[in-house]
Amino acid sequence: MHRMIELSPLWLTLKLAFFTTLILFFIAIPVAAWLSHKKTIFKTIAEVIVSMPLVLPPSVIGFYMLLAFSPGNAFGALLEKWFNARLVFSFEGLLVASVIYSLPFMIHPIQSGLSSLPPSLKEASYSLGKTKFQTLLRVLLPNIKPSLLTGIVLTFAHTIGEFGVVLMIGGNIPGKTRTASVAIYDEVEAFNYHNANVYAVILLVLSFSILFILYLYNRRLQQVKIF
C-alpha cells in the first residue's frame, strides 16, 4: 500500500524557496530604501501594493497569474513570442508567483529596519563625501543585519509554506511544480496518510528549526526589536 516516499517535492520546495529569497533580496533592498524615505502619496500607494499579497487570498493571485501566463492571453502570448517562455505550469512561473506572493515578507522587515536608523548616521556618511549607494551598502545595511536576516528567513519560510498559488498555476508536475505542500495534499487525497505524514513531519521540523535559529540569533544580537 505504501509507495516509497519521493524526495523530489522536498528538494523542489527548497530550491523554490532559495531562489525566491535570492531574487527578492536584491529587489527588496532598493525598494525598501526608497520606501523608507519621507512619504509622498505615490509612495503610500506603492506601500499598499507591496502589502497586498498579505491580505489577498492566494486564489486571487493564482487566478490572475493563470490568466496572465496563458498563451491565450495577450501578456502570455507576448512572453511566448519574445522569450519563447511559457510561465504557466513551469518552475519559472512558480518562481515569479512566489516572488510576488512573498514580497511583503522581505520588504517590510528591511524597510522598518532602515526607518529605525537615526538620520544622523546617513548625514554623517554624506558629509564625509560618500554617495547614496556607498552609504546604503557600507553604512546602513551593516547596521540592520537582524532585519535583513528576518526578511530572508521569513521569505524562505513563507515560500516553503506556499500552497494555494502553486496549486492553481503549477499543474502538479513531478520534479517541476509538485512542491511538498502540494504533495501532501495529493497524498491525503489519495488516502496515503502515511506518506502525507512523512512530508508533513519533515516540513514541520524544518520550519521550526528555521524559525528557532532566527529567534536565537536575533536574541543574541539584541539590537532591533522585530516582533
Binding site: 504557466v88 502538479n172 491525503v188 487525497e189
Partner: protein, 246 residues
C-alpha cells in the same frame, strides 16, 4: 424567552435542507436536476462540488452530506465498505471521455497522435488518483502506448473542473475532460473537442449513494432526492448533458 420559542417554532416550519456531494463533471447537469426536482419537492438542495476521491475523503472524515453523486463506482463502494452508506450504491449514468482544445490551431483527433506534436507543450488531465475521468484518460494513453512519451507534458488538475479550466483558459494546449463539460452552456463553442473511442477505456459508470448521515438526519428528504436520481426525468437530463443512460 418568548422570542426564543417563537424563533424555534418558526425554524421548525422552515424548509428542510439537504446537502449533496457532487462529482465535478456533474456540475452542470446538477443544476438542471435540482430545478427539475424542486418542481415537485421544495426540499432545499445545497451542492458541494469536488473530485470524487476528495469528496469520499471528506465523507470518511464525517462530512455532513446526505447523498453522494460520484463519477465512478469504486468510491461509493468504498463508503459502503466503511459502513457510511445507507444502502448499496447504484449506477445512474455513464460518462464519456473527450479530448478538448481551446486553441484555434489545434484540431483534436481520436487517435491521440497529435499529442506527440512539438507545438503541444501541456496536456491537461484530472488527477488520476482522485478523478475517474483522469484515470480513464491515463488508461487510454497507456493503451495507445503514448503515456511514457507524453508524461512530461501532463499537467494535473485536482478535479475535472480544474483540468477543464486549464484547457478553457488555454494555459494547457489540449486536455482530457468529460463530454458533459464541453457541451455545457458555459463552455459550448469554446474550441473543438472529439469523443474518444468508448471501447478503449473502461466504462465510466457513475454511481450515487444514499449516505448514512442522510438517513439519520433527513431520512425522507434525502431518500426522495436519491430516488429522483434514477427517475425517468433525471435520465432525460443525463442524456441531454452528454451521458449515456440505460
Amino acid at each position: 424567552m418568548v422570542f426564543l420559542t417563537a424563533f424555534t417554532s418558526i425554524a421548525g416550519f422552515t424548509q428542510i435542507k439537504i446537502t449533496v456531494a457532487v462529482a465535478a463533471n456533474m456540475q452542470y447537469a446538477m443544476e438542471a436536476l435540482k430545478a427539475e426536482f424542486n418542481k415537485t419537492d421544495k426540499t432545499e438542495i445545497s451542492i458541494v462540488l469536488g473530485a470524487s476521491g476528495k469528496l469520499t475523503q471528506q465523507i470518511m472524515q464525517s462530512a455532513p452530506f446526505d447523498v453522494f453523486i460520484s463519477a465512478d463506482t469504486s468510491f461509493p463502494e468504498k463508503l459502503m465498505q466503511n459502513n457510511l452508506a445507507a444502502e448499496p450504491p447504484k449506477v445512474y449514468a455513464q460518462g464519456i471521455l473527450v479530448l478538448w482544445s481551446a486553441e484555434p490551431g489545434i484540431q483534436p483527433a481520436a487517435d491521440l497522435k497529435l499529442l506527440l506534436n512539438e507545438n503541444i507543450q501541456h496536456i491537461a488531465i484530472a488527477n488520476p488518483k482522485t478523478a475517474p475521468y483522469g484515470a480513464a484518460a491515463e488508461f487510454i494513453l497507456k493503451k495507445y502506448g503514448l503515456y511514457d512519451k507524453i508524461a512530461s507534458k501532463l499537467v494535473t488538475g485536482e478535479s475535472i473542473t480544474q483540468a477543464s479550466q486549464f484547457i478553457a483558459t488555454q494555459a494547457a494546449d489540449i486536455g482530457f475532460t468529460a463530454k458533459s463539460i464541453v457541451i455545457s452552456a458555459e463552455m459550448k463553442g469554446k474550441g473543438k473537442w472529439i469523443e474518444l473511442n468508448r471501447n478503449d477505456y473502461p466504462p465510466i459508470k457513475q454511481a450515487a449513494v444514499l449516505l448514512k448521515y442522510g438517513r439519520e438526519n433527513h431520512a425522507a428528504a434525502a431518500k426522495n432526492f436519491y430516488d429522483f436520481l434514477f427517475s425517468k426525468q433525471a435520465k432525460l437530463i443525463y442524456k441531454n448533458f452528454g451521458y449515456i443512460v440505460q
